[in-house]
Amino acid sequence: MNTHQSTFVRTSMLAPSTPPVLEKGYIAWFRKNLFATPKDSVLTIIAILLLAWFLPPMIKWLFIDAAWTGGGRGVCATVAQGGSQPEGWTGACWAFVGAKFDQFLFGRYPIEERWRPALVGILFVALLVPMLIPKIPYKGWNAVLLFAALPILAFVLLLGGMLGLAYVETPLWGGLMVTLILSFVGIAVSLPFGIILALGRRSHMPVIRMICTIFIEIVRGIPLITVLFMASVMLPLFLPQGMTVDKFLRALIGVSFFASAYMAEVVRGGLQAIPKGQSEGADSLGLGYWQKMRLIILPQALKLVIPGIVNTFIGLFKDTSLVSIIGMFDLLGIVRQNFSDANWASPVTPLTGLIFAGFTFWLFCFGMSRYSGFMERRLDKGHKR
């Protein structure tokens, strides 16, 4: 027999030939994402030119030319302005932020008492972080501590005047501390109030429905600043003589009112999205109104509107900056107040301070929006088939 084999069968696959140079690696990516069409190329070039024009001076201003250390305005002003920097210098004055950092955090809170807000802050973070991480158990107790125990403790610690703590009046409060207290209280008050208002607006009782609707529409129709004005100017008018409300409390009331109305509309959106069958099912099981809402309707409705709720929180957090207009020193207010400090006044101080405040606000808001996205994805799993 002829042992010669005339057929040839490869036992291994041919190595794939390399793709054309233009179709792989960076070049392909650039071609696909930046220069796909002539229009794209033009846009890309314009964008690159814009970045080249904008970014290097910004980095130079923010970091390279910035004055990082120093004890006074001298390091942030040119010779002509009475400082030590060469003529034509401009850069961020981070030394200003460094020197005023404690003030930006606590306002004019007495220095020897600052451990109190610091302690509250640490406790807040220690309670908030486990609350936010879904895997950690005992959420119920955590919530009780965060929303019931902590506020009471914070009230005692921050205000003082009892348990041997020195009394610190609220006009001395300021900085990030005030911003955070205002937003925390606003959030904690507006969610339940918003839910009640939303339920009231969908109530079958005409009087209650009308009251809730009028409240929501009026508060939503006017700017927050007028609400704050009302709280700060008209609240004293409304109360009998001798009865005064603390300025800080007035701002808190104004902010909470405002946020509640917005929250109510968000919650109403969620309530409207729940099919009628759910409510009828609950009725047929013999649940009362509050049982029905608490066990059937609200858990579904609130889950649906988590993005809207967080957006309202973010809006509230940003809106707290408005209290600086009615003469309180939140983060923005205290930063602005320090512009007029003769020891640090220079042309670059305002911009530096505002960038610092802006970055702080941005960090909180961005964090909140990212967390809401994470929660949305987590809760969404139930609907996937």
Partner: protein, 397 residues
């Protein structure tokens, strides 16, 4: 349930208490609420009257005829410190409208560009748009206002070293100077021509629509309208002998002369509101375009409609249905946010009202004026939105 407990068991067994009737209970709850509200309002009114009497403040709107005694920085109508409080409020109202309208136009343009940019296939453009949105959405508008006001515009050079911009504009720490149009006699014809052109355009667009419905042919609406609106006034302008000239600002030795100037207050408020609101509009636009299902454009392609026309005739009209309701509420937000003017002293309605409030102490009246004006604006907006939603609602079988 709490009421059940209070009813004696024997009674409930026999007839079923009236209190268990949800209707009756509803009346009782409403009665209690109404009573509490009336008592509360009465108590507040009594206190207010008492407090006002003690502070010697006469209530009522008579104070509006009093002499204002303060100047406003920028005003669209004639105003001096001898004018009345009422006129000052009108000035403030017009200033609010001015910054709202200019801000809305700019924010819409930036917002649409950025929103479309986020959907771009171009990686760089998409990322830049995203950075823009994430930065401006997460910073309080008040801070952006201060950023422009005390961070940027305040450190611009003095008038004598004004920076020259294109189109004969100058910018310095007192604001932006730009050429002011001067209308000579005969200029009104140009305006008439513009009005006629707009009316003619609307008539033509209707005709074109009808024609398309009947024959399926599309008339060149865009070019005709552009030609009419630009061409007709321009033609009239030249035919009447160029009656509109420009008063150009000229850099003098110490100051600029001529032209019109808008102050840094207006500029920073306008810039901040535009940039801030634009970031929200961008997100609305993005959501709107993505909200049109992909099948729509695929179907259009399958019918042989070209990509450009698909966008114009299929995607955009459907996207607009999603975009416009939230867009109007953003416009309303911008208008309300313009009240932040008070922080930098731009004389809008709230700032003027605040000054009057400090001078006269008429807190109730001023706040009521604020509320009436803003509520009118927001209610008319929601009326428009209801009308629009009804018009645009999907017509289903």
């Amino acid at each position: 349930m709490t009421i059940d407990a209070t009813i004696p068991p024997g009674k409930a067994k026999s007839t079923g208490s009236v209190l268990n009737d949800p209707k009756v209970r509803g009346y009782i709850y409403q009665g209690i609420t109404l009573l509490l509200l009336v008592v509360f309002v009465y108590w507040v009114t009594e206190n207010t009257i008492e407090n006002l009497k003690r502070a010697n403040i006469a209530s009522g709107y008579g104070f509006l005829n009093g002499r204002a005694g303060f100047d406003v920085g920028q005003s669209l109508i004639a105003f001096t410190s001898d004018s009345t409080y009422g006129r000052a409020l009108v000035v403030g109202f017009f200033n609010t409208i001015l910054v709202a309208v200019t801000g809305i136009i700019t924010a819409t343009i930036i917002g649409f560009l950025v929103g479309i940019g986020r959907l771009s296939h171009n990686w760089l453009i998409a990322k830049l748009s995203m950075v823009y949105v994430e930065v401006f959405r997460n910073i309080p508008p008040l801070l952006v206002i201060f950023f422009w006001y005390s961070g940027v515009l305040a450190v611009l050079p003095q008038p004598r070293e004004s920076l020259a911009l294109p189109l004969d504009m100058y910018i310095n720490n007192r604001g932006l100077a730009f050429p002011r149009p001067v209308f000579d006699s005969g200029a009104q014809f140009t305006f008439y021509a513009l009005v006629i052109a707009v009316i003619a355009s609307i008539v033509f667009a209707r005709y074109a629509r009808k024609k398309q419905m009947e024959t399926g042919k599309r008339l060149p609406v865009l070019w005709t309208v552009l030609g009419l609106v630009i061409g007709l006034p321009l033609l009239t302008f030249f035919m009447t002998g160029m009656p509109i000239t420009f008063d150009v600002p000229i850099a003098g030795k110490f100051n600029l002369t001529g032209g019109s100037v808008v102050g840094p207050e207006f500029l920073s408020l306008f810039l901040a509101l535009s940039f801030y609101t634009a970031s929200f509009i961008a997100e609305i636009v993005r959501a709107g375009i993505r909200g049109v299902s992909h099948g729509q454009s695929e179907a259009a392609h399958a019918l042989g409609v070209r990509p450009g026309l698909t966008t114009r005739l299929v995607v955009v009209p459907q996207a607009m249905r999603i975009i416009i309701p939230p867009l109007t509420s953003q416009y309303l937000n911008l208008t309300k946010n313009s009240s932040l003017a008070i922080a930098i002293g731009y004389a809008d309605l709230v700032a003027v009202g605040g000054t009057i409030l400090n001078q006269t102490g008429q807190a109730v009246e001023i706040v009521s004026i604020w509320m009436i004006v803003y509520l009118t604006l927001s209610l008319s907006t929601s009326l428009f939105m209801n009308w629009f939603n009804a018009k645009m609602a999907l017509v289903e079988r």
